[in-house]
Subunit: 304 residues, 2 copies
Amino acid sequence: MTQQTTPDVVVVGSVAFDSVRTPKAAHEKLLGGSASYTSMAAALFARPGLVGVVGDDFPQSYFELFRDAGVDLQGLQRLAGKTFHWSGVYEDNMNNRRTNYTDLNVFANFNPAIPEAYRDSPFLCLGNIAPALQAHVLDQMRRPKFTVLDTMDLWITTTRDDLMKVIARVDMLTVNEHEARHLTGKGSLLKAAQLILEMGPRYALIKKGEHGAFLMSKDDMLIVPAWPLIEVMDPTGAGDTFAGGLIGTLAELGEVTREALHKALVNATVTAAYACEAFSVNRLETLTREQLDQRASAFRNMLP
Amino acid sequence: MTQQTTPDVVVVGSVAFDSVRTPKAAHEKLLGGSASYTSMAAALFARPGLVGVVGDDFPQSYFELFRDAGVDLQGLQRLAGKTFHWSGVYEDNMNNRRTNYTDLNVFANFNPAIPEAYRDSPFLCLGNIAPALQAHVLDQMRRPKFTVLDTMDLWITTTRDDLMKVIARVDMLTVNEHEARHLTGKGSLLKAAQLILEMGPRYALIKKGEHGAFLMSKDDMLIVPAWPLIEVMDPTGAGDTFAGGLIGTLAELGEVTREALHKALVNATVTAAYACEAFSVNRLETLTREQLDQRASAFRNMLP
């Protein structure tokens, strides 16, 4: 049975229905959720295994979409009830996002169980779920070589102690500008990143959206601007896609050297830009590795 | 007489007293003005000649500061009256600048006269003055190889026709994010840059402050993030310093190839970051080429 193979990278997080309206269009019950974007992006570079939960309303077509992309679904639980449903609206220049509603449904009782075949996976991406659950995942993994943790404002506010404990256990924390400032109380993103390193991780990755990202370690720093995207169709999941492109590339290379991290940042940037060109994971679904490599090469060529 | 030598680059703009308050400190009647920053930055790479005007209150020490840095002052007029005086305050995280007063004084009657020895200079930086005066400078130059034009909101609003005419005559327009949007009416900076190219210049350089800059031409794009600066002491003149580092590097290399432009963008970025580390041109005054080259090399090393 091929499902018994250990994935190159385990991706944990939400799988959801997204109902999204942007200034360009509106769509209902698209495939969404952090683990969906991250695993679809990682699948461009490696063999991810997805750990998440969906309800019995999750359509066959979405299961097939994942499988066609090469995402292993042995870790995707199916519970009786409805799938997590998020609805939001982007206003003006896509910079303002307003949530209409968040129906957690089966996600409210999510208890991530890591399949036996996943426990030896060398790379782990802990998407945005409750810090206690992220810790529970870490407890089940044997000795991942490299672990990336994402989080959000909700956990910084409501479960800060749990969050600090799990941050101390991972190799890289990835947050956006706002979360970095919220978590550390620092206005300067450089100071915020330095404080994150004091919390335990070897790497702090700060995502700045259209302004790129930077990766700080104790004695080094890598910087990557954003891919120049003329038209954004839907920015949902851009940060999760970035994380997927990053850890997918590291998993493909099998090592976390400076050169591998630079390559991972370029692939993450380009993959996230592709994701914004269409709603949901639609562009990731059709994207070929050749297209991605070409854009990554063009991007590097734009940099000094 | 050494002053009869043709400069590598002619820098036109304001020379001023700046009285500045930031959250860190406050200082009165510092050396300021666009041409001061631009020529001091350019002098790190080439021999600039400054075209501007000061009053009879301009101190000997400031003349000497320019000369010690290698800035030719044959084009700096001295008129009876007071030197242009600007006073401003930076609030919060340095992102809000408020002007207390702008006393134009002798600058109100500035009529840029280009010394004979300057007219064959191959590089020209037209700092932010009235577009009609910028055009008057262009009329006096013989055949500059490469001309960079800066402008500001005042001219976009009050003398748009004059501005459009002079934009059409230069090789590169350099503006900040806000000016780019104001000039073109486009929210997207990429679209704004495309529109600027339609106005005539071969290059549109959009400066994004702490988020770096990008340079667009008809079929190419170069991107540079900002140098990661932990402490900003005074951001006054950062954009002018960027322009000076850019055109100074091009003047040093003597050509405008893709590789030269990349090198110029790196030097511009690093020089502008140095300028922000102290008030006025103080850090540029003490900066050595060796320090600058080291930081430029470290910066390139941070990029993929």
